[in-house]
């Protein structure tokens, strides 16, 4: 069956088209959908697009930032108010991929991709989704857990609170190739200190499960404690709890488990 391309002026129309056709996929930057077509994926027969400026809008002036799903990583890197997201954006692809790949698409990127989503998960972002029945806000963790069933809806934007200072949010992607490569593991940590103690610390892991996950046990090890050698050590030893990494070409499950704590320790203690 030949492929049909449907281009709409508004995200709402695109969302309707998407929800009414099981063989339809939304085309953002192309790095997932075009790749699938190039590899001969015949399950896709309709490509849906939207030329809606709302999808490319960045609202970063206030304490809560909203990023349109169609915003590319290059655009994030060009936005000074999104400095806290520059490290995850820069860790993705080469310049061409950053000029194409979008924040919305990254939510759907399978391992070893989807690094930006790991950062958003640690920031406890909210995903705004347009379905057949209007828009709704979904916490990112919930969104990811039902990701496979989200194909019929359209992500409009992602929003999150800005970290209070640059130390409160940290990110690290471990690759085998410098400067760029697929993720062996990806770590993101939201570690805000309140009167010297961690409050609502959040840790997110990439490539340690079928999709980015929170490391709850390690978070509990940090909660209410100062960010010191003892709490970091406790978090590092709990980091693999609830994870289910797999063997792939970039690393074995064993290796991923072994290094997760090492890199969490370095990330939290500010080591290179």
């Amino acid at each position: 069956m030949p492929i049909t391309v449907k281009t709409f002026g508004s995200a709402g129309e695109a969302a309707s088209a998407l929800s009414s056709d099981r063989a339809a996929r939304y085309l953002g930057g192309g790095t997932l959908v075009m790749r699938a077509l190039n590899e001969g994926d015949i399950s896709i027969s309709t490509i849906v697009r939207a030329n809606d400026h709302a999808l490319r809008r960045i609202d970063a002036a206030g304490p809560r930032v909203t990023i349109g799903a169609g915003v590319t990583f290059a655009k994030i890197l060009a936005e000074r108010d999104l400095a806290f997201l520059h490290a995850p954006a820069r860790s993705i692809g080469g310049p061409a991929v950053r000029n194409m790949g979008t924040v919305g698409g990254n939510l759907f990127a399978p391992n070893p991709y989807g690094d930006f989503t790991v950062a958003l998960l640690a920031l406890d972002a909210t995903v705004t989704v347009q379905g057949g029945f209007g828009a709704r806000n979904v916490p990112i963790e919930e969104f990811l857990q039902s990701r496979d069933r989200q194909a019929g809806s359209l992500v409009i934007s992602i929003s999150c609170q800005k970290p209070t200072n640059s130390e409160a949010f940290r990110y690290r992607k471990i690759t085998r190739i410098r400067p760029k490569g697929g993720s062996v593991i990806t770590l993101a940590a939201y570690v805000p200190l309140s009167s010297g103690r961690l409050l609502d610390a959040r840790l997110a892991l990439g490539s340690m499960a079928p999709m980015p996950i929170r490391a709850r046990a390690a978070e509990r090890a940090l909660e209410g404690r100062p960010l010191d050698a003892s709490s970091i050590s406790a978090a590092a030893s709990a980091i693999t709890e609830g994870t289910s990494p797999v063997d792939d070409a970039l690393g074995s499950a064993w290796y991923r488990r072994e290094i997760a704590g090492v890199h969490l320790r370095r990330l939290l203690s500010g080591q290179e």
Binding site: L37, N38, E39, G40, I42
Partner: protein, 523 residues
């Protein structure tokens, strides 16, 4: 820029080098930087069709039924090709030089022997239509037991991978199931040694990952000929292979190639051309068959894996007196070029060293893995890796500097090599000396003074009178050894060695760094 050490062996050559040591522009550079170098895929032919193959989803299975009716009726499909359509559906690459038996079909008929083996080819107007038709090909498999480990493949009762070689080993000279090297008396040498070191080395398959994937375009030409644009690294070899498989004279083809987007050995197997030409013959249209990236990585032939066991005997003064090697080259499901790789393995023993007692057994083994192929020194690279790791460990055991240890054991002009050829024009000592100098690695004077042209020959030129097959080792009372390889080696044996022994207690001597160093001093 290159530095030439003309001082070394200056008397052996005329000093008239005009080209070496200075930059010379590549002939194809202008084409490369302007993007006008023409690769096989840079041809857009009128009415070109696209070929894709349906690949086995099992590593080893009988093919009960292949149903293509629905696929034939799929939109845009011009032709479905099955094994029966291939004029000579069995080949081995080196049959062109009368080496080995035909063992590999272009399209599997009765059985598949590795995951990804081509079974049916679909020729359609567009890649998309070919993909859609592929999904409509129904194949009924009867999975068979698999074997992925070279030593498991040699065990009695192991699944037979390739019926052409029922013992899962390539047959040399219509008789032998492995390559043998015998020189001196390795068991006596090991028994006399102060230290014996036994180690196991394992190398994985390596994908060449060329930026340009394997592929070809074939087009009908006048006078019943076919023009073929190909990524092959071995153009004439590929012409003759296609002529054999398609059962036509080789002058049927006009092959155009030579500009290859990265080969590294991964483009010598003629994997796309025969089906591509056959499709052009059957449809009368130009046909393009290019591997996708995932196909290239998953099913393109890799460098073959090797497992190597080395047992060395070394004296306290650093002389290696015996080297015994047992190696397995993983050919995957078919021979391709691995039979030759095993020959190179054996030919490379015992490395560039003069050792009076050498013993080697090298097997080319069939398993249900992707068939292996050439890659940059295949057969030699892994053996070198194993030998040089071993050399470092031996140096450590005897407390010698690793560079000096190599100089001590290096072959010199006039020495007899284990293959019964006199060593000539040797230069390992000088290479090590220069490497040490460049790395600012201190060498003692006697080693700085050593020369490949001195100290060789004489007693070192003698071929031992009686080369005996190995017998049950007579172990010196004071010498501790743990043997990996207990198989009687008096006859070509299919008994695999037992699994490696448990790790020993930490040795009391200075070799604690190496977990399986068991040598102790004899005197």
């Amino acid at each position: 820029m290159l530095e030439l050490r003309k001082d070394i062996f200056a008397d052996e050559r005329d000093d008239n080098l005009k080209e070496i040591g200075k930059g010379t522009q590549r002939q194809d550079m202008l084409g490369h930087v302007t993007g006008t170098s023409t690769y096989f895929d840079d041809h857009k032919l009128q009415g070109m069709l696209h070929l894709k193959v349906v690949r086995s989803v099992h590593s080893h299975a009988r093919l009960r039924r292949i149903e293509t009716t629905e696929a034939e009726q799929s939109q845009g499909v011009r032709r479905i090709i099955r094994g029966a359509d291939v004029p000579r559906n069995l080949n081995t690459l080196l049959s062109l030089i009368n080496f080995g038996k035909d063992d590999e079909p272009s399209l599997a008929v009765d059985k598949v022997r590795y995951k990804g083996e081509p079974i049916v080819a679909v020729v359609a107007d567009s890649p998309r239509e070919a993909s859609e038709a592929m999904a409509k090909v129904r194949i009924e498999y009867e999975p068979l037991p698999t074997v992925f480990d070279v030593e498991d493949a040699l065990k009695p009762g192991a699944p037979v991978v390739n019926e052409t070689y029922p013992k899962n080993t390539f047959t040399y000279y219509e008789k032998y199931d492995h390559q043998k090297l015998r020189f001196g008396d390795v068991e006596r040498g090991l028994a006399q040694a102060d230290h014996v070191l036994e180690q196991r080395y394992q190398m994985s398959p390596i994908e060449h990952a060329p930026t340009e994937t394997n592929g070809s375009i074939a087009a009908p030409d006048t006078n019943g000929r076919y023009t073929v644009y190909t990524s092959t690294q071995a153009l004439f070899f590929s012409v003759d292979t296609c002529a054999k498989i398609l059962d036509v004279p080789s002058n049927t083809f006009h092959f155009i190639g030579g500009t290859v987007g990265g080969g590294f050995g991964g483009k010598v197997d003629t994997i796309t051309e025969p089906l591509c030409i056959l499709a052009a013959m059957l449809t009368g249209r130009p046909v393009r068959y290019v591997l996708g990236r995932e196909e290239e990585m998953q099913y393109g032939p890799p460098r073959g894996a090797e497992r190597i066991y080395i047992t060395d005997g070394v004296m306290r003064d650093g002389r290696i007196v015996a080297r015994k090697v047992r190696a397995y080259f993983d050919s995957g499901a078919y021979t391709r070029l691995s039979s030759y790789a095993a020959v190179k393995c054996a030919a490379h023993l015992p490395g560039p060293y003069t050792i009076p007692n050498v013993y080697g057994d090298v097997y080319c083994v069939f398993t249900n893995r992707t068939p292996a192929t050439a890659m940059r020194g295949f057969g030699v690279t892994a053996m070198d890796f194993a030998i040089e790791c071993q050399m470092d460990k031996l140096a450590h055991i005897v407390g010698m500097d690793p560079m000096e240890f190599r100089i001590l054991n290096a072959y010199r002009d006039g020495d007899m090599k284990a293959h019964r050829r006199e060593a000539k024009n040797t230069a390992l000592i000088e290479c090590v000396q220069v490497a040490a100098e460049k790395a600012k690695w201190p060498l003692r004077d006697e080693f700085k003074r050593a020369s490949s042209r001195q100290g060789g020959g004489g007693a070192r030129a003698v071929v031992p009178a009686a080369t005996r097959e190995a017998h049950a080792p007579t172990v010196a009372a004071a010498q501790q050894r743990t043997v990996y390889d207990r198989a009687p080696a008096t006859a070509p044996s299919r008994e695999p060695p037992p699994p490696p022994p448990p790790r020993p207690q930490a040795p009391s001597h200075g070799a604690a760094r190496f977990s399986s160093v068991f040598g102790t001093r004899r005197r």
